[in-house]
Symmetry: C2
Subunit: 350 residues, 2 copies
DNA sequence: GCAGCCGTTGATAACGTTTGCCGAAATTCA
DNA sequence: TGAATTTCGGCAAACGTTATCAACGGCTGC
């Protein structure tokens, strides 16, 4: 069985548990010869440190809790992947909790993770408003980084994409393509991504057409809403639908095709996030790609910094990363001006 | 700080730590009045048990490790979701490890999880052959359940969909629709799902057409391969492409549309797994839906059974669950015989 | 009324590590 | 060469919980 403890290694190598602990953890210099004997014995016996005991004694579990609203949201798997890889690279393990978009469940999971003594928490809050209390309480106990969505000001460090810059990229692109009758299919949720994207549209779309900022339909971040939203704005005879995320765009695209509209000939469609489906849809959907690996790297770095300097409550940081525009067929030249094929061209933000 | 220990609760409630532990853990009966006082004090102080200490003493962490090949594989998020929910419902937490399809990384993660003293492991092996040693070694230490893919015979308990039954559903459906020139676009990997599906095709397709079992193209489980595979079988003028999973089907569908083929008029396309994209593709892809929630429930139940009777090495179980056929537009009536609209009809296996 | 029993409770010893402290040996410096 | 300083290793005390054992009541039953 996995019963080999420090005592056994100590006995086998002829020294005390303390020395064995020191050479294995490298906390203090130890004689070269002794170190060799200890390492040999440990390897021979197949010693595996007991993380539970270590955690109890040193009050650090080497574990990070990751709380997210819905793993089935197609944007998150890539993020989870990058986060777990980045954290594992630092020797930490990841406790995963999917709260199913329910702030109450979210609070319970956070509580459970805290009682499991995670060293830190990564949270994508389910709801900007109703997640706040639980997140703030947790942030008071352990280093906590908010990702993707905000949770009110001054709660904790946060890392997210610059939604305004992303929306600006989209609007510039559509403007350059001569689109003017633009509509926004967004989400009315309190999640910060929803709010920021619709604010950015409201702020930027006026440059295309004075009435554009008013052509807005708000629902949620789903394919179903995308389908339904098209009908609500159809009377305005739009030549471009700016969607707040790729799921909405997929739904909009489907409904447009049902209605017999030509995409991009009659109307362009754009999304946000660049989930896998955006590239695989027909036509491919022009969208704003989030720098997922960089988001993960920034988040883990933020955590490491807090963990390295315990108690030191430095100023909170709100990191915003620049997204890039991915141009695909769904926003190609309109009916009048068909040009060359230009699919999947990535345009980094300046 | 989170410094409230059993001692504090004991002092506040006027009894010993032993009693407090007993009432809070419910391990042994305790006086009603005392229990009330203890619970009151615990609540008032906001006591949170220290899982690290508990784990050290009782040699059980209440934690399960989940090792999977690629969280970005669109079939897994739904499975992860159901697994975490099922496990959390039993009071366990989930340590997640994504090994990026690399058996070496997989072995390291398994090792790390074991040294973190997980009570049990859920593993979706990256490779049938090269994952075997690490999985077998782990299974000797803790209860382990293999999911989705096998890992050689007699290694551990396993839960998976019945791939043969699923493939049979597809072939029956195509036969009933009058398709005869069937081709199989599969994966040559050693993963058991790949092998079982292509074996089931080989065994069942002969009933449609004597040459069908020979019309096979093998690559991997990707959209890219699906696109490429179409060209390899196109000379055979197929009227149906049976794909080993939905990603291949999506790729095949794209390439067919590029070639100007009508789906399902000229050729039907079927997938396997029922990932979200299958429903959202245009046309929607007929596929075999895995009973994800039931798979998760069976797996956790299997774990619970092993955990309840420690050391009792009962016989290994290999549970196979019946899938259901989801008929969508991609396998509708062929060119000659267009009928009524029948989208998204689920036909459970008998 | 006394032996014996159960139901409750309190001390206390683990669980396997890390770590502060101290002694011994080895090294340096005057 | 003696004292000061460093280096190295051991002892033992934590960390917060659970489990074992004994003690102390108040019972029942004869």
């Amino acid at each position: 069985m996995s019963e080999i403890t420090l005592r056994d290694v100590a006995r086998a190598s002829g020294c005390s548990v303390a020395t064995v602990s020191r050479v294995l953890a490298g906390t203090r210099p130890v004689g070269a010869e002794t170190a060799r004997r200890v390492r040999e014995a440990a390897a021979a016996l197949g010693y595996r440190p007991n993380h539970a005991a270590r955690a109890l004694r040193s009050r650090a579990t080497g574990t990070v809790g990751l709380v997210l609203p819905q793993i089935t949201n197609p944007f998150y798997p890539a993020l989870v992947r990058e986060l777990t890889h980045a954290l594992h690279a630092e020797g930490r393990a990841v406790l995963l909790a999917d709260c199913d978009d329910d702030p109450v469940a979210e609070a319970e999971y956070i509580d459970d993770l805290l009682s499991r003594r995670v060293d830190a928490l990564l949270v994508i809050p389910a709801d900007e408003r109703r997640s706040r209390d639980a997140v703030a309480a947790a942030a008071a106990r352990v280093p906590l980084v908010l990702m993707d969505r905000g949770c009110g000001p001054g709660i904790a460090d946060s890392v997210a994409v610059d939604n305004s810059a992303g929306m600006a990229l989209v609007l510039d692109h559509l403007a350059a393509a001569g689109r003017r009758r633009v509509c926004f299919l967004g989400a009315d949720g309190t999640a910060s991504a929803a709010a920021e994207r619709r604010a950015a549209y409201a702020a930027g779309s006026g440059a295309l057409d004075a009435a554009a900022p008013g052509r807005v339909a708000l629902g949620d971040f789903s394919v179903e809403w995308g389908r339904a939203a098209v009908d609500l704005v159809w009377d305005a005879r739009p030549d471009a639908l700016v969607c707040a995320n790729d799921l909405i765009a997929v739904g909009a695209l489907q409904r447009l095709q049902q209605l017999g509209a030509d995409v991009p000939g009659d109307v362009a469609v754009t999304g946000f996030d660049d989930i896998p489906m955006a590239a695989l849809s027909a036509p491919g959907i022009t969208t704003v790609r989030q720098p997922v690996a960089e988001l993960a790297a920034e988040a883990t770095q933020l955590l490491s910094r807090r963990l390295a300097a315990p108690g030191t409550e430095g100023p909170q940081r709100a990191i915003r990363l620049a997204p890039e525009l991915v141009v695909r067929e769904s926003s190609g030249p309109g009916a009048g001006e068909r040009g060359a094929d230009e699919a999947d061209v990535a345009v980094p933000v300046s």
